[in-house]
Amino acid sequence: MPENILLDPTAETAAAIQPRLARPPSISGKTIGLFDIAKMRGDEFLDRLDELLTARGHTVKRYRKKHFTHLAPIELKQQIKSECDLVIEGLAD
C-alpha cells in the first residue's frame, strides 16, 4: 500500500500567531471588568483589585463563570466585551 499521501488528523487550523492588542496609554475613564473564573480564592485577588481601582475613581464591573473546568459561555464573553473597555481575569489559585 503506498504511504506517500497521508490524511491530516488535525482540525487544520494551523496556529495563527496573533499580535497582542496594544495596551491603552491610560486607564483613565475606562470601564474595567474583573472576571472571576471561579477558581478558589480568585475572588480574594479580584476583591482587592476592585478596592484599589474603585478608590482611584475607576468604574469596575464584576463577572464570574459557573465553574473553572468549563469554558466561559459566549454570551458572557459578549456581555463583557460590550460593557467593558478592559478586562482583568483571575486565572488560577
Partner: protein
Amino acid sequence: MATMMHEAVPRIETNDKSAFADGTFVAFVKQDCPTCVLAMPVLREVEQLVRRSGGRLEIHVQDEVTFAAGFLHATDDTALAMSYRYNIDTVPTLIRLKDGQEDARTVGWRRSEWQAVTGISGLGEGLPDYRPGCGSKTMDPGMPARLKVKYGNTGLASRRIEVPPLSDPVETCYERGWSDGLPVVPPTEERVLEMLDGTARSPREVIGMVPPNLAACTVEKVAINAVMAGCRPEYMPVVLTAIEAALMPAFGLHGVLATTNACTPVVMVNGPIARTIGMNAKGNVFGQGNRANAAIGRTLQLVVRNVGGGRPGEIDRSVFGSPAKYSFCFAEDEDDPRWDSYAVSLGYSPKASTVTIFPGDGITQTIDHISRKPEDLCRSYAGCIRAIYNTGHIIGVQAFLAIAREHAIVFYDAGWSKARVKEELLGLLKIPVREVVPGRSGLSGLTAEERSNPDNLVPKFKNGTFNIIRAGGSAGKYSAIISSIGGKGSIEPVTKEIK
C-alpha cells in the same frame, strides 16, 4: 478443451424476439475461477454470434490475459480499472450495453440469465444449468478502498499531507506532532476508508466541538485518528460514542485536559459489544496487551491532541501526567449475574451497549488477603480510599472502586449488593472537620454549620461521585481505586448508549 470449443462451429440459434446480437457485450473473468473456466466456451459462442451480427464482445481478464487468447477484444485488467468502473463484485459477469449504457447484467453462470441477457437460446449445451461465480479481484482484502483511492472519488475532505521523498511515513507523523510519543499507523486514504466501513455515519458529520480549541470534530477526523491509534473498523461505534460522551458538558473535558492534576478521561464499556470486539475485563484489565482496550482509549487521546489541540506543556498543564494518558480503556466484568453492571444500575438494559467516561489518574491497589467478612473488607477499603490526595482532602475528589473476583466473592457470599457495599463505605468515609485539610480545598466547601464544631463528621466525597464496578483477574485478593479530581457540577462521570 477451451481451444477445441473455440475451433468448433458453435451451434447457435438466434432468438427471433431478440435484437441484442448486434449490440455490445462486456464480460469480466479471471482464470483462477472454475466458473469462468466453465463459461469461457459459452463466451466464445456469444462472440461468434455477435460478430456475425455486427456486434461486439469485450472481455476483461483480471488475472492472466492469455486466458482469453483468441478473443478479438480481450483486455488485460489486472489493474482492475475497468472492473472498478463497472462495479464488478463477482466473476464471471456479463453485461449488455445499450447506447453505451448498461442495459442488463448477469453474474456467475445461470443459463436462463445468460440467454436473457444475450438473447441467444441454447447456450452452453452440456453445462449444468447453474454454477455460482467467484469473488472478483476487486473484492480482495483491502482492494475496495485501494481502488476507490486510485480510480474513484473518496469524498474524504481532509487535507492531504505528502510524505517527503525517501522519508518514513511514521517519522513524518512524528515530525508533524501527531503522535503521543509512540509510533502511529500512517493514516493513508485506504486505511481511513476501511476504518469508515465500521460506521454507517457520514464522514462529514460533526460529532462535537473538541476543547481546548473547540474545533469541529467530524466522523472522518475520528477515523483518521482511529487508524493512527491502531483501531479495527469494528471499534468505530465504541470510539465515536466514547468521544461524544467525553464531549458532554457534564464531563468537563476542558478541565480534565487542562488541569495540573494527572487525571484523564477513562473509557469503560458495558454490554454485548465489549465481548463482540474482544475487549478485556479480566486479568490485567487496566494493563497492556488487548488491542481494543489500547486502541479505543488511545483514539480518544489522539482526538483531544490532534483535533482539540490539547497538548502537554501547552494547555495540558499536568504536573505529573500519567501512563493513563496514553490510553485508559476497559470493559466492566459482567460475567457474574449476582451484581448488576454499572450501566444496568443506571437503568440501561443488559442488552444495551454503553460507554461511560469518567476521570481517572491511574490506579491504587488495595490488598486484603485476610478479611472474610464484608464489614472487614469495607474497613480495609475505607482506609485506602480516605487517603486519596490527602486523608483530609474532601472537596473535588471522586473515585471508582474496581473489585476483583476474590474480593467480590466475600460480598456475594454475604448477600451484599453493590449498593450495600457503597452504603457501607460511604458510612465509613466520614471525616471529622478538625482533620479536613485547610489547603487548596480549604474549609470553603463546608457549610457554616459543619464548620461550627471540629468534631462534626463530613463525607470524604463531599461533592464528588463514588462508584463501584467489577473488573480484574480471577486470582488474587485485590481491588483497585481509580481516583480523580472533580465532582458534581464540574467533572462528572457520563454514560452514553452505543446506537
